[in-house]
């Protein structure tokens, strides 16, 4: 086993299992969930799969959701990002329905965000009133809610 991966898995396992319950832990994962073991997965309360309205992105999210299930994460939700119109909305809704995935929110496509990210600034600082930051803010409560959302 790659020892770098082992260190990450070990730390994640310990920190998610032992962290005080009043602390939120947010892990930005790889698409393949390489850093989650079966044991660690049991301590992750929710997996959020972020997808864009195009096929390969939705397929990746479907794989992530399946992997999460294998790792013992029961609460898997989907957030649609960069949604431009009703066609995007429908494509995502149809895909999620077809694969039994729970869509809990959407973030609109936001040209302002691309400019901010190119500059290396935090969206919440540089564009707090942008549509995307506003959408994520509105979603935050649901994503961090102890009870499964949806």
């Amino acid at each position: 086993m790659c020892s770098a991966h082992a260190t990450v898995r070990g730390f994640l396992g310990e920190i998610v299992a032992r962290a005080a319950s009043d602390r939120h832990i947010i892990v930005d994962m790889e698409a393949g969930l390489e850093h989650l073991s079966r044991g660690t997965g049991r301590h992750v309360s929710r997996l959020v799969a972020v997808l864009e309205p195009y096929y390969r992105s939705m397929e990746t999210a479907r794989n992530v959701a399946a992997l999460a299930g294998e790792l013992g994460i029961d609460d898997v939700v989907v957030v649609a990002n960069k949604v431009r119109d009703d066609g995007d909305r429908r494509a995502i809704a149809d895909f999620c329905r077809a694969h039994g995935m729970r869509l809990v929110g959407e973030i609109p496509f936001d040209g302002a965000l691309a400019d901010v990210e190119r500059s290396g600034q935090a969206p919440i600082d540089a564009a707090p009133d942008s549509r995307s930051v506003q959408a994520i803010t509105a979603l935050a409560g649901r994503l961090a809610d102890e009870a499964p959302s949806g």
Binding site: G10, D28, V48, L51, N81, A140
Partner: protein, 111 residues
């Protein structure tokens, strides 16, 4: 809540993760953000300046310890206190969000 966020590269998962962390921290909760992507850029979304982000140290492999099971086989376990690791290797960004970067593990000293 222990929330893992995943998705294909470019979907904006890091934007969601970082912005969510900031929003929750503003709500008064202690927030730990962990960047487990091999191409780590959660720091910039959190608003941690580039020069501070470049100083973030990855976790050394020495935190893992080989232990021998009763049957003589060995296993590798994480032997350190995670809270101490958090203190020693994490950085604190805007709104008090604590960030740990995992992706650089094993790459320390390489660049």
């Amino acid at each position: 809540m222990r929330i893992a966020i995943a998705g294909k590269g470019g979907t904006g998962k890091t934007t969601v993760a970082g912005t969510l962390a900031r929003v929750l921290a503003r709500g008064g909760r202690e927030v730990l953000a962990i960047d487990a992507d091999t191409n780590p850029n959660l720091a910039s979304v959190l608003g941690i300046p580039g020069e501070q982000a470049r100083d973030i140290v990855g976790l050394p492999r020495t935190l893992m310890e080989r232990q021998t099971r009763e049957d003589g086989t060995t296993k590798v376990v994480f032997a350190a206190d995670p809270e101490a690791v958090l203190r020693d290797y994490g950085v604190t960004g805007p709104d008090g969000v604590r960030l740990m970067v995992m992706g650089r593990v094993g790459h320390g000293g390489a660049g």
